[in-house]
């Protein structure tokens, strides 16, 4: 579903944020990107969204080489990839329902389809009763649920999450993880950058560890810390 081949990203100014990374992520996988702050997790996610161009290497997303994607096709890539960020990225002047509907409006869906679909997804994330509220009238956990709803409302095959629990307390974090797990079980591939040990250890999914932009570990059903030494 996602394939990286010798990907390197050097920012202007010379920071090597991602260094010769190769990765193969299968359809339906749930992959944690772990590593200290500055290890290159966010950069990797941005590259997969073509929010930044790669310096070297190739990235395929859903069968397409996105490093060669013409600019005007970038919106189409974004529509097949749902995104969730630490800071929610909701539009402040739109209500919960409007924020979620926006992802469908962008696709040009008729409003007769948008209404029911938004209702359904808000039901799924447990916010049906807060559809008319504005983001500022919600708690952090609720805002993140809106963000997850928006990312998933058009059923993208892939979801990229960058520290989605970074601003949330443990209990709320668990709620979000439960939601992502449910989405993953529908067959959606999920890549999630995090430095939350408890979550990674509890989920027992594939773990890709980064250090200074390099992959230093890649384990199926891994833990946040190196497990090889414990065994």
């Amino acid at each position: 579903m996602i394939r990286l081949e010798n990907v390197t990203k050097v920012y202007e100014g010379g920071t090597v944020a991602v260094n010769d990374v190769s990765l193969d992520i299968q359809k339906g996988e749930f992959v944690f990107l772990v590593g200290a702050s500055g290890s290159g997790k966010s950069t990797l996610i941005r590259l997969m969204l073509r929010d930044e161009p790669v310096t070297r290497g190739r990235i395929w997303v859903a069968g397409k080489d996105i490093t060669r994607l013409p600019k005007w096709k970038i919106p189409y890539l974004r529509r097949s990839v749902g995104t969730v960020f630490q800071d929610y990225k909701l539009l402040p002047n739109k209500t919960v329902a409007e924020n979620v509907a926006f992802a469908l409006e962008v696709l040009g869906r008729p409003s007769s389809v948008i209404g029911p679909q938004v209702g359904q997804i808000l039901e799924l994330v447990g916010l049906a009763d807060k559809a008319g509220r504005y983001p500022r009238q919600l708690s952090g956990g609720e805002q993140q649920r809106v963000s997850v709803a928006r990312a998933f409302v058009n059923r993208p095959p892939i979801m990229l999450c960058d520290e989605p629990t970074g601003n949330l307390d443990p209990k709320t974090s668990v709620e979000i993880m439960r939601l992502l797990d449910r989405i993953n079980r529908t067959g959606t591939t999920i890549v999630m950058a995090t430095h939350d040990h408890a979550i990674v250890d509890a989920m027992k999914r594939r773990v890709v560890a980064l250090e200074n932009g390099r992959v230093v570990r890649d384990e199926v059903a891994g833990r946040y810390e190196r497990t090889a030494e414990e065994e």
Partner: protein
């Protein structure tokens, strides 16, 4: 359909949120287009007045009396016939001494002093009043008349002042056009600035929209509409203001018979539409300029996602 409603709603809400900036842009467009349009109106007025002064008498030749100074009887009439043959002459007529007296009495109808002063009506000379085909020939005509020293006492012509006005009008026309161009460019730049500010104020929103997969055009259209509205409103205000000003001028000028100050509504309609069209174009071009900076970066994907996550 819902798309259009959405886009218009976006444009209006952006206008509402940036009231001060928007007022600035509208005022800028208003001032520049009002001045430009004003220049056009002044120019039109000059044109009208020159046209009005151009009909009628351009050259007057005052004649010596017949029977005196060796002027034979019938010399006036034969000069008139000769003048009528000249190519540049559209029309000419003879005003006899008697007619001159009648004219004098009419002109100074309310001025007893003048009437009293002129005790002897026979001192008023006869004259030939000439209308030229083209005012530029007045020098030729004057020269030809002055050759007739025996009959022609003096040649007066209004053509020179008319020609000066024509030249002035030409200068004003060029200046007005230059002014209109400069001010038009200023309007475009100011709208570009406004749109840039509006986008800057909404840069996070724009980034989010792009993340969700909105195309550049989807993001652009509300800003284009915003610029269009600013341009058209500014232009409409300008047309209205200039129209009101010129209408008042025309009313005030009604007593001044010398000048023609009323411009036809048709003219206003035609040029007003053009100014509106220009405002609309300025709005759209300004927005495109304002947008281009923000929607283009190294990767062509628009503003970065705000850092810090």
């Amino acid at each position: 359909m819902s798309r259009i409603v959405y886009l218009i709603r976006e444009a209006l809400s952006s206008l509402r949120r940036n009231v001060l900036i928007v007022i600035g842009a509208v005022l800028a467009v208003f001032i520049s287009l009002a001045l430009a349009f004003g220049a056009l109106v002044v120019n039109e007025l000059l044109g009208l007045n020159i046209a009005a002064w151009q009909d009628g008498t351009h050259v007057v030749a005052f004649l010596y009396d017949e029977g005196q100074n060796n002027v034979p009887v019938g010399a006036h009439e034969s000069l008139l016939q000769e003048v009528l043959e000249w190519d540049e002459v559209e029309n000419a007529r003879l005003v006899s001494k008697a007619e001159a007296w009648i004219e004098f009495q009419r002109i100074f109808e309310n001025d007893q002093q003048m009437l009293d002063a002129l005790r002897d009506p026979t001192v008023l000379p006869a004259s030939i009043r000439i209308e030229l085909q083209d005012i530029r020939f007045h020098e030729t005509t004057r020269f030809r008349l002055e050759q007739q020293q025996q009959v022609v006492r003096q040649v007066n012509t209004a053509a020179e002042s008319i020609e000066q006005l024509q030249n002035l009008s030409q200068v004003l026309r060029t200046l007005g056009l230059g002014l209109a161009v400069v001010l038009g460019v200023a309007a475009v730049v100011l709208i570009a600035n406004t749109i840039q500010l509006a986008i800057y104020a909404r840069r996070e929103e724009v980034a989010i929209m792009k993340l969700v997969g909105a195309s550049n055009w989807y993001i652009r259209v509300p800003f284009l509409l915003e610029g269009l509205i600013e341009g058209v409103v500014g232009a409409a205000l300008a047309v209205f203001a200039v129209w009101v000003a010129s209408d008042n001028l025309a009313k005030a000028g009604q007593s001044l018979e010398l000048f023609k100050l009323d411009i036809s509504n048709q003219w206003f309609f035609r040029w007003g539409l053009l100014v509106l069209l220009f405002g609309a174009i300025a709005g759209v071009v300004g927005s495109l300029l304002g947008l281009s900076r923000y929607l283009r970066d190294a990767d062509g994907t628009g503003p970065d996602i705000p850092k810090g996550f």
